[in-house]
């Protein structure tokens, strides 16, 4: 656990970068720091590996004040990833990754083989290990930065806007990678970002900083989105936080309808009768293995030759689908909004249609989310240690 106890940093020019920060980042969890520019997030991070010496308070790692440790030795036990990656231009990718093991005196062979392991762990090819950093893309450089930080297997990882310099697609890939790594490695991660979606995605806990280096709120992502403590935090998490919050609720709680789902072998006449019986304006036609083929409007079903099979008719594309078991309400809502029929198609892991969700059902589910009282959640199974210090 990383503990900030009343940490204050006042620079010689009078700037107060951190003002009495109390924060506990539990072990094995990812704690994300967000907040306006200049609110002291980087300063907080750098107080942990002593790149910044606080002018007040103290930082502890697992109960030990970081000031009791030799700075160079302390830093070798803490991974540090920054926005520009900070790779050494004169060393190959493999040697970059081997940096800390070499500093720790592992010997060249062991350090190199460890570096090769990490290269693979972060999803790079062995051949890329022989390249120099300038021969890699920005996203690949960030991966190397992460690999280098993990090389000596440090228990603590500090990441300062590590993915903010890459495009959204690459960023999403890097986030996935980090989530996967974290599920295997269980590092104590402090992660700074400006992207609230990234924070919600990666964080077990989120600390929002306000200008002047003051902690505004420290909570789980769910609670932060449900109950921002004030208008500053609300503004920060975004006014579409309601929609964002839907990502915490599983799509499996939606009621799926199958009466408007018809096999492509059925006739237009049968479809017209189903539409009349159910009052559904849109019917979903499925093909082999119940895979979705497309939407048929009730009007078109009635107008078509009653003997024609549905699969021979012109259908509207089914657009996005959602995975009932894996996706969230947010994905289901997204699927409904993008569907020409205004309805979302839910499928099982094999891609077979389980049913469709009407707008009314979606509205009801979203409504019930609003009704959900947010439980007394904790950050990472540990009490949220924000403001409870004496």
């Amino acid at each position: 656990m990383i503990t900030f106890e009343g940490v204050t940093k006042r620079y010689p020019d009078g700037t107060v970068a951190l003002d009495g920060l109390d924060l506990r980042a539990p072990s094995g969890r990812t704690t994300v720091l967000v907040g306006s520019s200049g609110s002291g997030k980087t300063t907080a991070l750098r107080a942990v590996n002593r790149l910044v010496e606080p002018t007040g308070g103290r930082v502890l790692i697992d109960g030990t004040d970081v000031r009791e440790r030799d700075p160079a030795l302390l830093r070798r036990s803490i991974g540090y990833v920054i926005q520009q990656a900070g790779l050494f231009p004169h060393r190959t990718v493999l040697d970059n990754i081997a940096t800390v093991p070499l500093l720790l005196g592992w010997g060249r062979r062991r350090a190199r083989s460890r570096a090769a392991e990490l290269l693979e762990l972060v999803g790079l090819e062995a051949a890329q290990g022989r390249r120099y950093p300038h021969q890699l893309s920005g996203g690949q450089q960030q991966r190397v930065g992460v690999a280098r930080a993990l090389a000596a297997d440090p228990p603590v990882l500090l990441m300062d806007e590590p993915f903010s310099a890459v495009d959204p697609v690459v960023r999403a890939g890097l986030q996935d990678e980090l989530l996967r790594l974290q599920s295997e490695l269980h590092k104590t991660v402090l992660f700074v970002t400006h992207d609230i979606d990234e924070a919600v995605r990666l964080g077990d806990g989120i600390a929002v900083f306000r200008p002047g280096g003051v902690l505004a709120q420290y909570d789980t992502p769910e609670r932060l989105l449900a109950e921002p403590v004030d208008t500053f935090v609300e503004g920060f998490v975004g006014y579409d936080r309601g929609v964002r919050r839907l990502s915490f609720f599983p799509a499996s709680r939606l009621e799926l309808h199958t009466d408007a789902v018809l096999d492509g072998g059925r006739t237009a006449g049968a479809a017209a009768r189903t539409a009349a019986a159910t009052g559904e304006p849109w019917l979903l036609v499925t093909g082999a293995g119940r895979a979705p083929l497309g939407w048929l409007s009730a009007g078109r079903a009635a107008a078509a030759d009653p003997e024609r099979p549905l699969e021979s008719l012109e259908l509207e594309g089914y657009g996005h689908i959602f995975h009932v078991e894996a996706d969230s309400l947010r994905a289901a809502l997204d699927a409904a909004v993008l569907s020409p029929a205004g309805r979302a198609v839910g499928v099982d892991p094999g891609g077979a249609v389980l049913g469709v969700v009407s707008q009314a059902d979606l509205a009801a589910a979203i409504w019930s989310v609003g009704e959900d009282t947010v439980g007394e959640d904790t950050v990472g199974g540990d009490t949220v240690g924000g403001q409870d210090h004496g």
């Binding site: 700075p71 920054i82 900070g86 800390v100």
Partner: protein, 226 residues
């Protein structure tokens, strides 16, 4: 005077005086460059680290550079006599005016995030300097060495005026004094060849020492070949 170049003189004098002069010239230029680099490194590192040191240091090395070499040679003559040091010491001082700013610039060009990453990974200041900052500054240092070596090789000729040998002596003693053109031409051509050769070796050294420097031009050539 007959023909301008007397090949028979060249053939007879290949070992002496021509060969001797080339070797002397080489020694008189390389020793000052090496000494200059040895002195410039700590000075440059200090100036890059303590920025306040730099302006006065720069003034000193520039003023030294402005002193005519012939004056320095004569100043040293009573102390060092007709030894190589009379030429070597002033020439070494001259290289400082080129090498120190190059080293300082090279160190300043190390990106802040690279330096920060090194510190954050647990490099102490000395290790960081030797393992990260100086290697990253190598291209700038070699660029300085190239200018300094060409300048030194041409200045060594002046050293001959105080009787220290080298290709300048060939020009002066054999050519000028005897009103004989061949040694003058040979001296001039060989000085240029020497400068070219040393420069070429430095370029080669840079290629070998810094395989990591992006060389887009070379990459394009390769693509063209394939």
């Amino acid at each position: 005077m007959g023909e301008v170049i007397r090949w028979d003189w060249i053939a007879r004098g290949l070992e002496d005086p021509i060969g001797t002069a080339v070797l002397q010239h080489l020694q008189l230029s390389l020793v000052p460059i090496a000494l200059g680099l040895l002195a410039a490194l700590p000075l440059g590192v200090a100036a890059a680290r303590w920025r306040r040191v730099y302006p006065p240091l720069l003034t000193v090395v520039n003023v030294l550079y402005a002193v005519p070499s012939i004056a320095l040679f004569f100043l040293l003559l009573p102390y060092t006599g007709l030894t190589m040091w009379t030429a070597v010491l002033p020439l070494a001082l001259y290289t400082l005016a080129i090498l120190v700013p190059n080293i300082v610039d090279g160190l300043h060009q190390v990106p802040g995030h690279v330096r920060q990453a090194a510190t954050a990974m647990g490099f102490g200041p000395l290790r960081r300097l030797v393992l990260v900052e100086l290697p990253v500054a190598v291209p700038a240092v070699i660029a300085g060495l190239r200018v300094a070596s060409v300048a030194t090789i041409s200045m060594v000729s002046v050293a001959s005026m105080v009787g220290l040998g080298g290709l300048g002596a060939l020009i002066l003693r054999e050519g000028f004094n005897n009103r004989f053109a061949t040694p003058i031409i040979v001296g001039v051509v060989l000085t240029a060849v020497l400068a070219f050769a040393v420069d070429g070796l430095l370029v080669l050294a840079q290629r070998l020492l810094t395989p990591w420097v992006p060389r887009p031009a070379r990459g394009r050539e390769r693509k063209g070949v394939r």
